[in-house]
Amino acid sequence: MEKKDIIQSFKDSLFTGLIALALFGPIVGLRTASKGEGLFITPQWGVVFLLVGLCILGRFLINLNSVRKTEITSFSKFTSKFSAITEDKAKHFAITAILFAVVFPFLPFTDRYFMDVAIMILTYIMLGWGLNIVVGLAGLLDLGYVAFYAVGAYSYALIATTFGWSFWICLPLAGLFAAFFGILLGFPVLRLRGDYLAIVTLGFGEIIRIILINWYEVTNGPDGITGIPRPSFFGLPFKRSPDEGETSFHLFFNLEYSTMHRIIFLYYLILVLALITNYFTLKIRKLPVGRAWEALREDEIACKSLGVNPTNTKLTAFAIGAMFGGFAGSFFATRQAFISPESFTFIESAIIVAIVVLGGMGSQTGVVLASIFLIGITEMFRDLEQYRMIAFGGAMVLIMVFKPKGILANRKPTILMHGDKK
């Protein structure tokens, strides 16, 4: 490496530091605190310099890495290992991951907090897999996916609280409702593509949320819906003292009562739902409709010239993607027992899209890795309180720098003529 290059990359990182200073200066540096009669500004320049320093160092290391052909830093070793994950190895990873997920609740270090995080990650994985059908396969950028999540959650909550039907009846109904809304959104956006489609779907997500806030008679507005029934284990509720004539889970299996039973059940519930989503997507990708989705993503005009009906193809993608969003939504409702429009803001859509895009468009395993990475990192820094979104942003930047096409970007053909020789 030449001296010139080092100076060049140093200059470049100083410039990055300047931008970081301009951003972090006001955002982090000036903190308002209420003391006595008013708001006072407490400067915290130490934190700012730490963050700016980190940015300069990070940028400098990236620059060095791109200039040097030989890799010396452990940093670049880490990234090369990271990029060595391919779809072939992903298969072993998938089997290991599923086994790990199955035994996870019984590992010695697993406590309530870990279970909650795991359930959250699994919910995002399921949402990511659902959205992957729309964005990854059909190539329709949907920024309002949270709308279907909300429709699923509210359908479940309203049906369950009004009619008192069990989770297992309400779940498919919620999925159907969400699919119906998927088609409802699909019709007006059939002619749109790219940025225009993204804007309309974004609007759709907001419309659903605003309807939920304002349609007080049905949705109970911003107060939300409370007392949503919990799911039961094949008719056995998870209650300390069951109602008259009922047997609860711990009595039936002769166990000590523990709130963990329900958590573990919820964990397996979302795991099974997510795996169903995955299995379904992997299957349908290899069917004509799945291939038509991908063809539509590649070139819509060519599709038409081959007699593929773009309307039906797009609508099925929207409907099926929305259906899985709806399933995830009803799971969310039954887990929380309380839902309000606040849970379905745009940031949720953005996180799900980020998971799909950063995971590698269309890659199922990529979604898992991106969910664990993004949600996990954000959780790890929970102590940072409002700054933990910085960790989320940092995780996104890391993926974008090292894997600009997503963690797993290589696509495997859905059908092979010569068999699997590689």
């Binding site: 004509p288 038509a292 991908e294 038409k304 081959l306 010569h418």
Partner: protein
């Protein structure tokens, strides 16, 4: 030889611009009909009208079956390929670049496979009836890949093929919908002489072995003169000449349209 396509008084206007002006011509079964003309003569517009991408301002286009004829005006969009069985290729290649060669050919058989898969239901259940149909579709794809000599690359991405192979793949992909009329928009553009010769061979094979009429837009005169049975010459949206390749070569009007008139 029977008529396959008749275009009658076709006119296409874009605002004040008349791209095609009262054009009439016929194309016959098992023949290659070429449409030639200088740039901007309206050749691609004719194709876009025939294949349902544009709705013509005036005129009729009929596709003849044994004893009946169907009006192409009635079909728009994907139905031209699905119902009327008119296939086309594009001036700028439009493959599905990130999908494998085989997948490209299977998407062309989408409608039959969709029915065979019970609109995905039988496919999800993995029924034998569907798997058999899928195997038939793969066999058909293999048949065409053997002809263009690309079988060994069936599992590679279509976008990774050399340019000439992509051209040929686009043509056989269109053939996979078993068209009655195949419209080729400048298939020889960007090909070297060897590849052009291979293209001629492929088109002659389709013409003689398949029940398909070919409509060809081309600038490469070695292709046009080598394989055309019938040539239609356009200039400024009007037909200025129609005849065999030899007649066209010696036509005064055609030479004037291409080279200009001596003042």
């Amino acid at each position: 030889m029977s008529n396959l396509l008749s275009v009658e008084n076709l006119t296409m206007k874009f605002g004040g611009l008349t791209a095609i002006d009262d054009l009439s011509f016929d194309a016959k079964n098992n023949q290659i009909t070429s449409i030639i003309g200088p740039n901007g003569a309206g050749k691609t517009t004719v194709f876009n009208c025939l294949t349902g991408f544009y709705k013509p301002t005036n005129g009729q286009m009929f596709l003849h079956k044994e004893n009946s004829k169907i009006s192409l005006r009635k079909y728009t969009d994907f139905k031209i390929a699905y119902v009327a069985k008119v296939a086309r290729t594009f001036q700028n290649i439009r493959l599905f670049p990130a999908m494998s060669v085989l997948e490209n050919l299977l998407v062309a058989q989408h409608n039959e496979l969709m029915v065979a898969s019970g609109y995905s239901l039988f496919g999800l259940l993995n029924l034998k009836s569907y798997r058999d149909k899928e195997q038939l579709a793969v066999d058909k794809a293999k048949y065409w890949l053997d002809i263009i000599g690309l079988t060994h690359r069936a599992d590679d991405n279509a976008g990774d093929l050399p340019y000439g192979d992509q051209r040929k793949l686009e043509i056989v992909r269109a053939m996979c919908i078993e068209p009655r009329l195949l419209c080729l928009d400048e298939p020889a553009a960007g090909l070297n002489p060897k590849e052009s010769a291979e293209l001629n061979k492929l088109l002659k094979f389709i013409k003689t072995e398949k029940q398909t009429g070919i409509l060809l837009i081309e600038h490469d005169m070695s292709v046009v003169m080598g394989i055309s049975d019938h040539v239609v010459v356009l200039n400024y949206g009007k037909k200025i000449f129609e005849g065999t390749a030899d007649q066209t070569k010696n036509s005064k009007e055609v030479i004037e349209a291409y080279l200009g008139v001596d003042e």
